[in-house]
């Protein structure tokens, strides 16, 4: 079993103050003051004529509001000795939360997308601790399947881990997971089963378990105490308040993630033979299929290459989109002019998109268009007009003719494709 705890390689991260140097640095009358200060900030040097010269540019520091501050007290120069202190959660050792010989368990079945806890999972672990805190000696157990890359289980509030690996859990295997959960149920009779109410499988597995155990779960729960649960019903328009059931499917942000404690993250034994875990032979997973990036609905697409008035070479645009495996989008003008179908229109009057990266080529950014890309994480603009709204909004803007940039991008993408193929053939 792998180690899910964060590394406290404490030794080199422990910060030691050199009180003497600090004191010298503060005391301008100290004979060593000048040398210490100049060693710190290079403020004074001996010039070519032998005179001491002060470089005004290196004195002080830029404050948070962008103004230059000179700190005469040298208070902020704590990082003496060239060692910059990097504040991080790691270096403050959180107190360890111990649960010895637990008498009860709360099972959290995480989504673990890509083998890591999602923020949704962490919120649920936080909630599990709120529920556990109301009784003593209750351990929060993370149940996870398949690969586990998470290294901070201890900080996320995992007291115990049940981790099952094996091909049988890969891909779409709800029945295999369910058989494990049933085994856990018989072995531990947990106080609660907590699932993320998500499209990543949490809601599916939770519903299956509830149906199998014949217990009525609360779904889309968002306020949970050990007595009362408030969950959303009627497509989110109503709150249903009821006694907290044993199986809960929880919404995002149902509680705050664990932040103040460290946990043991010890493996919990489960008498379960992985080779016995058999999926339902009536459901055969044939794997994820290669989806043509252009067949992905615009609203769902992760990466959109969008074209506007500034595109003149449409063949090149399409081939660039194909090379980058991007979903194509367009501005209203490009659609009106008949270069792109209406279904590709991005904006308030077209499709509202949620892409992580939105690459806008030759789109100046009408207000309706900007509304439509409001939810995009990163916006990249290629435009000839440096003053347009799209460039202002963009995280990275390139002022150039689209044709040259698209040609380069296509070339880069093809190069990468080639090198990847070579690697694969080398590996084979």
């Amino acid at each position: 079993m792998s180690n899910f705890s964060s590394n406290d390689d404490a030794l080199h991260s422990v910060f030691r103050r050199d009180l003497r140097t600090e004191w010298i640095a503060r005391n301008r009358l100290h004979p060593l003051h000048d040398s210490v200060v100049s060693a710190q900030q290079g403020g004074e040097v001996r010039g070519p004529t032998g005179l001491l010269r002060k470089n005004p540019h290196v004195i002080g520091f830029i404050g948070p509001n962008g103004l230059k501050r000179i700190d005469r007290a040298n208070g902020s120069f704590v990082a003496i000795g060239g060692k910059k202190r990097v504040p991080s959660a790691k270096d403050s050792q959180r107190p360890l939360h111990l649960v010895e010989n637990p008498e009860g368990y709360i099972m959290v079945v995480g989504d673990m997308i890509g083998g890591r806890l999602t923020s949704h999972d962490k919120d649920i672990l936080g909630l599990a601790h709120q529920l556990a805190a109301e009784k003593s000696k209750v351990a929060v157990v993370l149940v996870c399947f398949g690969e586990n890359k998470e290294t901070q289980c201890d900080l996320a509030g995992v007291d115990r881990v049940i981790h099952l690996e094996g091909n049988v859990f890969e891909g779409f295997a709800p029945e295999a997971g369910l058989s494990v959960l049933q085994q856990i149920e018989t072995s531990y009779q947990p106080m609660h089963w907590l699932f993320p109410d998500s499209v990543h499988g949490g809601s599916d597995l939770g519903s299956r378990l509830a149906a199998r155990l014949g217990e009525r779960p609360a779904t889309q729960a968002w306020q949970v105490t050990s007595e009362k649960t408030i969950s959303r019903g009627a497509s989110g328009s109503q709150d249903i308040s009821r006694t907290t059931p044993r199986i809960l499917m929880l919404m995002e942000e149902c509680a705050n993630a664990v932040e103040d404690t460290r946990h043991e993250a010890l493996p919990l034994a489960l008498e379960f033979d992985v080779s016995m875990a058999e999926g339902d032979h009536r459901l055969i997973d044939q794997g994820q299929i290669d989806v043509d990036s252009n067949a992905v609905p615009l609203a769902e697409a992760e990466f959109i290459l969008s074209a506007g008035n500034g595109i003149h070479n449409w063949d090149q645009f399409h081939s660039a989109a194909a090379a980058l495996r991007a979903t194509e989008g367009a501005s209203r003008v490009a659609v009106d002019d008949g270069f792109m179908p209406r279904s590709r229109q991005v904006g308030a009057s077209g499709t509202w998109v949620t892409a992580r990266v939105y690459l806008a080529v030759g789109i100046s950014g009408a207000i309706q268009h900007m509304q439509g890309i409001g939810q995009c994480d990163k916006v990249v603009a290629i435009n000839t007009d440096a003053g347009c709204d799209m460039v202002k909004r963009a995280d990275l803007a390139v002022i150039a003719d689209s044709e040259a940039i698209l040609a380069e991008l296509t070339r880069l993408a093809q190069q990468r494709e080639l090198s990847k193929e070579e690697e694969e053939s080398d590996a084979a």
Binding site: N309, R332, V333, D336, G338, R342
Partner: protein, 640 residues
């Protein structure tokens, strides 16, 4: 003489054949649905309708109106006299001279028809229509020669049997066109069907300077909604299609045709004729439907029959969805054919029966049903725009002098600027006004034009029920579409809510306020201004003057566009066209903006939020687009 009997016999036979054709044609029309028409009154009114109303439209083209008076008048007179002189053999020199005179008039007219056909504009149909001037000339010459003996100019029996035979052949040719063709489907059909169409018109209110533009409500609950096959049309609608002269004036003014969308009103009407008469459109000799990408569709593939579903093979649904319902074709049609009625009837079938409203149509209709507005906004947010306006709400005040119908512009940030400007003006004039607030619903305009009459009727009834709870004297709205529905279409639902209530567009209302001296405005000094007539204000409701008077009151001299007033070109925003979004070669709004730019105006005044949205959607640089309420609010004198 051995062949003397020939001309009268020919005339008689052709008259009989024409009679048979007429019965046959009438039976084709009678295959349509029944519709109550006052036959006798219609026939009595027909000459006046012809001479006054029809001529009024033809008169817009002076050349054609004079030509038509000469040719048509000459022919009718000549034909009557021919029957007396040649068929019944009435021996009267006076009649013969009169006939000669009529034929000369007709000949002159026919010469101008022929001249027009030398180099005909593209809107005119070719084919058999190119033959018509020749037939007309032949007719007048033949009967002129034939009548000369009767008038005593030439001796009886002049020319001998040879001339008689030659004349008989010519009679056969010309009368074949004029009589046989009239009822068997030749170009002259327009005279026969047209006259009856005028008599039995579905909207008799239109004659004598009246106006009838509201759509007729669909009957809900039957086996079919809307028009699926030609026989689902009312019989007088079928008759109306037959009246078409293929002059192509509709084609010349149709914004969708100009934009290269697959619609040509003239071809559509001809396809309707193909539909109820059966056959294909291969004989059609006018401009085809554009194909939406700069070319044209092939002619000859459309097949129709009276019991065949129209959208299966006769007409592509895209053709129907291209129409902006701007009524330019109806306004321009000398035969007063109702294109828009027919198109919406067929759309009703597509939406209510097939569930096949293209593009965003389905979604918009679903939104209207579920939220009472086309964009699916929360009905509870309808009054958010007025949060800072301190407006009375009917629910609280129960009565007011004026009910301000806000319309769905309440949800659109651009339209809200118009609404606020109008409220500013109302307050400055101290008008006792209230709004319905969240109780208001979409007027149903979009649903109705998209063919969903069930939803329109449900909205109309609910709106009427809401309004019937309150008392007010006037409804004012800034949206010409809602204005049209309230004024012309809500009357069909048996509610007394609008009895004695005057429905006004805001430009009309503001014009009154200014005339009463209740608004004090500064003169405008912002450069050249032109005015765009919204279809639903102008052609639908005849309000051309109030907006212009308002602008004039600010000292603005409107730089009129070439197409303004009743000939105004649509902005492309009506009839649900922005929703159905049928591809064309160009955008209608772009063409309209070109019209604006060609006047050199720096600003275009509009009286409709939909027009504002469409014209502002044109890529800059372009003139500024402002609603008249916004312009007026900007010139409001500061009160001290």
């Amino acid at each position: 003489m051995i062949f003397d009997w020939l001309p009268p016999t020919l005339i008689g036979v052709l008259l009989v054949l024409a009679g048979i054709g007429a019965v046959r044609r009438i039976n084709l029309w009678r295959a349509g649905q029944s519709e109550k028409v006052d036959i006798l009154a219609g026939l009595m009114a027909m000459p006046k309708r012809y001479l006054h109303d029809l001529h009024h439209v033809v008169e817009r083209d002076k050349y054609m109106s004079r030509t038509h008076v000469a040719t048509g008048g000459g022919f009718v007179l000549a034909m009557v006299l021919v029957v007396f002189v040649h068929l019944f053999g009435v021996k009267s020199e006076i009649l013969a001279w009169a006939l000669l005179a009529a034929l000369v008039i007709m000949f002159c007219g026919a010469l101008f028809v022929a001249k027009r056909r030398l180099n005909p504009p593209s809107r005119l149909s070719k084919g058999p229509w190119m033959r018509l001037p020749k037939s007309l000339l032949t007719f007048s010459i033949t009967f002129f020669v034939l009548t000369l003996p009767a008038a005593g100019i030439l001796p009886e029996g002049f020319g001998g049997w040879l001339l008689t035979v030659v004349l008989s052949v010519l009679i056969l040719m010309s009368l074949g066109e004029m009589l046989f063709g009239m009822t068997w489907g030749g170009p002259m059909k327009h005279a026969f069907a047209g006259a009856l169409h005028l008599a039995f018109h579905r909207r008799p209110e239109r004659f004598g300077g009246g106006r009838s533009t509201g759509l007729k409500p669909a009957v809900l609950g039957g086996d079919v909604h809307g028009v699926s096959k030609p026989t689902d049309f009312k019989w007088n609608q079928l008759l109306g299609f037959d009246a078409c002269v293929q002059c192509g004036r509709c084609e010349a003014v149709c914004p969708a045709f100009a934009a290269g969308q697959p619609l040509n009103p003239k071809k559509l009407i001809q396809d309707m004729v193909v539909g109820f008469a059966g056959g294909t459109d291969e004989k059609y000799a006018g401009s085809p439907y554009p194909d939406g990408s700069g070319g044209v569709q092939d002619v000859g593939n459309a097949v129709g029959g009276k019991d065949q579903i129209i959208t299966n093979g006769l007409i592509n649904p895209d053709t129907l969805w291209s129409c902006t319902t701007c009524r330019a074709c109806v306004e321009e049609c000398p035969m007063m054919i109702e294109h828009v009625d027919a198109i919406v009837d067929m759309r009703r079938f597509l939406t209510l029966e097939k569930g096949d409203t293209p593009n965003k149509g389905a979604q918009v209709l679903e939104n209207i049903i579920a939220t009472d507005n086309p964009n699916g906004y929360s009905p509870a947010s309808r009054t958010h725009w007025a949060a800072d306006q301190n407006l009375n709400v009917m629910k609280e005040v129960k009565q007011a002098d004026v009910l301000f119908w806000v319309s769905d512009g309440a949800f659109d940030m651009r339209s809200q600027r118009i609404l606020r400007s109008f409220v500013t003006l109302l307050k400055a004039a101290k008008v006792d006004v209230a709004i319905l607030g969240d109780e208001e619903r979409d007027s149903g305009d979009v649903a109705r034009r998209l063919g969903d009459d069930a939803t329109f009727q449900s909205l109309a009834k609910r709106n009427l029920a809401t309004m019937s709870q309150y008392r007010f004297n006037t409804i004012v709205t800034t949206d010409p579409h809602a204005f049209h529905c309230l004024k012309n279409e809500y009357g069909d639902f048996g509610s007394t809510a609008l009895d004695g209530v005057e429905v006004l567009h805001h430009t009309t209302f503001l014009n009154r306020l200014i005339k009463e001296g209740r608004l004090q405005l500064d003169a405008f000094s912002g450069g050249k201004v032109t005015y765009h007539d919204p279809c639903y204000l102008g052609r639908y409701n005849g309000e051309y003057d109030a907006p212009r008077e308002l602008l004039a009151s600010l000292g603005i001299e409107v730089a009129e566009m070439e197409r303004s007033g009743y000939r105004s070109r649509c902005c492309g925003g009506g009839g649900g066209v922005p929703i159905t979004d049928i591809p064309g070669e160009r955008r209608i709004a772009d063409m309209r903006m070109e019209d604006v730019i060609s006047t050199g105006a720096e600003m275009v005044a509009v009286g409709c939020q939909q027009c504002t949205a469409m014209l502002e959607g044109v890529v800059e640089p372009r003139p500024v687009v402002k609603d008249i309420a916004e312009i007026l609010a900007g010139q409001l004198k500061e009160m001290h």
